[in-house]
Amino acid sequence: MTGMNHIAILPILIPMAAMVFNLLVGDGRSNRRIIGINIGFSVLLLLVSILLLTVLAQSSTAAAAVYPLGNWPVPFGIVLVADRLAAVMVLTTSILSLAALIFASARWHSRGTNFFPLFHALVMGLNGAFLTGDLFNLFVFFELLLAASYGLALHGGGRNRVRAAMHYIVINLVASFLFLIGVALIYGTTGTLNMADIARAVPHIAADDLGLFEAGVAVLGIAFLIKAGSWPLHFWLPNTYSSAAPPVAALFAVMTKVGFYAILRLWTLVFANQTGPELAFGQNVLFVLGIATVAYGSVGALSSKALDRLASYLILVSAGTLLLAVAYNVPGVTTGALYYVVVATLAAGALFLLKDVIDQVLPAEAQILAVSLEFYGDEEEVLDEDQEVSRSFPAAATLLSWCFAIAALVMAGLPPLSGFLSKFAMLSAAFGADNAPTAATWWITGALIVSGLFVLIAMVRNGINIFWTSLPDDGGLALRPLEIGPIMVLLALCVLMAVFAGPALSYFADTAAFIHAPQNYIDLVLPQEDTP
């Protein structure tokens, strides 16, 4: 693995190079060649992510690419750690960002200035947050991705977008300050910022400092929960996501997963698996918050009539499901959760993109119908022929409704698609974890099944509104290949995840086994002689 360690920094360097390139050539939004080069950078990133994942999958379970920045000795310098968990998250980000970038290059990139540099900056921040092994560096990458996301949330302008972005910025700035307080408290009590070093130092914290350390962990946890969209800290999410430009919202689907990733990484590594007084810190709180988030997201999904709001609430449902899985703290449940995070992110991203395509083909009055159902039943189905912007597809409506149906099946977790397999993996592991199912097992079962039902009802109702009552007759629909293509690829990947569930689940099982045995990670990152 020595030569391959350099691969750990490439997922950060490639988007940075793309960003610098865009800043140098200026705002070339109408230049097809510049758009092509931008897509080329994303393709390159995807190839590197695939390479990283395959290298890790072929080496032993406890392998990871460790890259000390500037070659400083590890507890003192910043280190990048690309283990299997980070590789999965980086690959998911790369797939979704490529799809969103291709989608945006059809139309959305020209709705405002500097779309491409901001987009690459967001991808760079996401990859950096997944790869870093240093707590303060995690903060810096968080700020980087947030700064880019502020700009992207404003992309396209307009009153609603600016208002939602303003709330989003204030809430995330406050969350960043909480993050800093938590990091400072943890540094004050452990004397280090390296995650592996913190994990090693936790059992040796003086009894007097333990309260201070736990306060720091709790404050840090609140900062992560705000990013993850956990109830009751989720209130910024539906407005921001539903008012952002669709390709941006699709990429934002990964952003809540950063909060999940940070919680999973830190809680398995540092706070949950230690023997002694730190055993499972805050696990019960996380569990209750997970249940509440799932419940809130399900009810919100039922109450939302517009597809973009529905997709935002689906993000909340998946955030809650992931919190439940982290709180359960069993390798088998984590396996299912990792499978779930990939398919839920891809499907949610596809849904945000699909919403934009459906908006274009729906007659104007149907869009009003989607928001207020008062006009139900008396709309006249007229398609304005002047609005036809590209060649029409045969059976375009069939294609759209199939895409919608696949997204609905994945999000609701119905067989035979990957959403069902992930939930099944989580539940069967939860039942198999102890000899007899505990109360927590029944709670997680109920939450997953009932939320699946609610999501299904909401999606079916929305689908009926769109495809059976509002959509004009087939043949007249104009779809851009650049826009429908990425959606189909994302959903095809969800289907493929179900077809190749065996290899995927065994990879995720290895990942879960690795992150639930924190000593492996500590041994990898820290020099051996430092380990007491």
């Binding site: 208002r163 972005a165 303003m166 204030v170 406050v174 300050f177 400072a184």
Partner: protein, 111 residues
């Protein structure tokens, strides 16, 4: 010294949180600035309070106990830069919201 710093952090964060919860965007941005000052001071205090101690080692035989912890100072520097940049960005969004909605209420509604 500890008491002075603790009171300063407490007053700054209390006024900051109060202003954050106010309905006008200008109050919110001043509140954010005050909270960021409080957080910066807090990070500095996490390296333990030392008087007359340099953070940079000089000489090979220096005793580490005579020096202040340099890491929180580096963290504060980063936090100041990031906080400043974000506040500047928020200022622009604030002005855009003011121009689009014609009101300086955080929800864009006049009252």
């Amino acid at each position: 010294m500890e008491l002075t710093l603790a009171i300063a952090i407490g007053v700054l964060s209390a006024s900051g949180v109060y202003l954050l919860l106010r309905p006008r965007t200008f109050q919110v941005i001043i509140g954010l600035s005050l909270v960021s000052y409080a957080v910066n001071l807090f990070i500095l205090s996490m390296g333990r309070l030392r008087m007359d101690a340099a953070p940079i080692l000089s000489g090979a035989d220096a005793n580490i106990a005579d020096y202040a912890d340099p890491v929180p100072q580096a963290l504060v520097l980063t936090a100041i830069v990031i906080g400043f940049a974000m506040t500047a960005l928020f200022l622009v969004v604030l002005l855009a919201a003011r121009g689009l909605s014609g009101s300086d209420h955080v929800d864009g509604k006049g009252d």
